[in-house]
């Protein structure tokens, strides 16, 4: 039973107010909880559907010939890996050659020196003056003397004269 609204017995009767009070007793219409839950679920599902649809707009296109380029890269890598052992062998061979060359350098130089400089060549020259160079020293000294003591014409004549021209030298000496 709904209680009747309290009324002041002394107050004048106001039918309109009384009606409003009566109507105010009627509660707001409410959906049952089960139904409300179902509506919430449907709204959430609809939101999910919309979200998925919007996300579906983002499409990634595969670049043209991507698969071909991938296969080419794989082939190139396989080739590289196949030749890697060969590369290591080549490096090892080069290293051993270098080692052999560095070990052979000094003995050859020394042997050239001990052999009197005939076979040493440029390598022997680094270790010291060769025998040929030492033998040529007097001649170089003579040339220096000629340059200092004679005029250019006499230098030219002197350089043209062969030491075997004994007669000519005698004549030169007699004439000088």
């Amino acid at each position: 039973m709904t209680p009747r609204p309290e009324q002041d017995p002394g107050a004048p009767r106001a039918p309109r107010n009384e009606l409003d009070q009566w109507l105010g007793l009627d509660p707001d219409p409410r959906l049952p909880d089960v139904v409300r839950q179902r509506i919430h679920e449907q709204l959430a599902a609809e939101d999910d559907r919309m979200l998925d649809a919007v996300l579906g707009l983002d499409v990634v296109d595969r670049p043209v010939d991507l698969a071909d380029r991938v296969r080419a890269a794989v082939r190139a890598d396989a080739r590289r890996r196949r030749f890697r052992p060969v590369g290591w062998v080549a490096v090892a061979a080069a290293a051993s050659l270098l080692l052999a060359a560095s070990m052979g350098w000094n003995p050859r130089g020394r042997s050239a020196e001990s052999a009197g400089g005939s076979a040493g060549g440029a390598v022997a020259a680094l270790d010291g003056p060769s025998a040929e160079l030492l033998a040529a020293l007097p001649l170089l000294e003579s040339l220096e003397f000629l340059e200092q003591e004679l005029d250019p014409f006499e230098q030219e004549v002197a350089l043209l004269v062969d030491p075997g021209d004994a007669v000519f030298l005698e004549l030169l000496e007699l004439g000088g």
Partner: protein
């Protein structure tokens, strides 16, 4: 979420028998037996998916996406003999991709830090222009929506982004995603829920505009 050391040997939660038909696994086994054509088909079938995953995770501005697709398949070649059919092939493949993504993200971050250190030279905001890769016939309004979707995905944290992308665009289950990223089903479920909430909040205004 760190992946285990060797995806080929890591126990997978989804058994092979759970997978009714896995063309990738079939091709992989055929290739192991010496069928080179099977490898060609693998590349043909999966290179696009790998590219799409890298694009959605790293973003369209990332210049090395195609190199990373090649790197993925090079790693696949090297792991060929260790592969055993224990899960969907794509799950195994995406594990390789995810690892590359982590490496690349870390590299990009350190590069970014370096460029910020040298801000006086190149300027802090130096970036490649974004390539929209949109169909020229896509309308301006639709292009805006797509741009917004991409920005929303890019703004997600790394772990939420990879989980959401694998679930939404590559149809992986929670268990499979957990295998890929080295996590648990429960954690993945939570990550995807949070990612979707974030996306819904950001993209809600587009729902009415698009009226899908």
């Amino acid at each position: 979420m760190t992946p285990s050391k060797d995806p080929a040997r890591r126990p997978q939660s989804a058994a092979a028998s759970d997978v009714p038909s896995d063309r990738g696994a079939e091709l992989m086994v055929a290739w192991q037996r010496g069928d080179e054509q099977a490898f060609h088909e693998l590349v043909e079938t999966y290179s696009g998916q790998v590219y799409a995953l890298l694009t959605r995770f790293l973003g369209r501005r990332h210049p090395r996406r195609e190199d990373l697709v090649q790197e993925t398949f090079l790693r696949l070649v090297r792991a060929k003999d260790r592969y055993t059919v224990s899960a969907r092939f794509s799950t195994w493949l995406y594990t390789i991709v995810w690892r590359l993504c982590i490496n690349e993200t870390e590299r990009s971050r350190s590069r970014q830090e370096l460029s910020l250190d040298g801000a006086g030279e190149d300027g802090p905001g130096f970036e490649l222009p974004e390539s929209l890769e949109l169909d020229p016939f896509v309308g301006v309004a639709r292009a805006d929506v797509i741009r917004e979707v991409r920005a929303a995905i890019a703004a997600l944290p790394d772990n939420q982004r990879i989980a959401m992308v694998l679930a939404r665009y590559h149809s992986l289950s929670f268990a499979e995603i957990a295998d890929v990223v080295g996590s648990t089903d429960k954690a993945i479920k939570s990550l995807i829920h949070r990612a979707r909430e974030t996306l819904r909040a950001r993209l809600q205004p587009l729902f009415e505009r698009e009226a899908i």
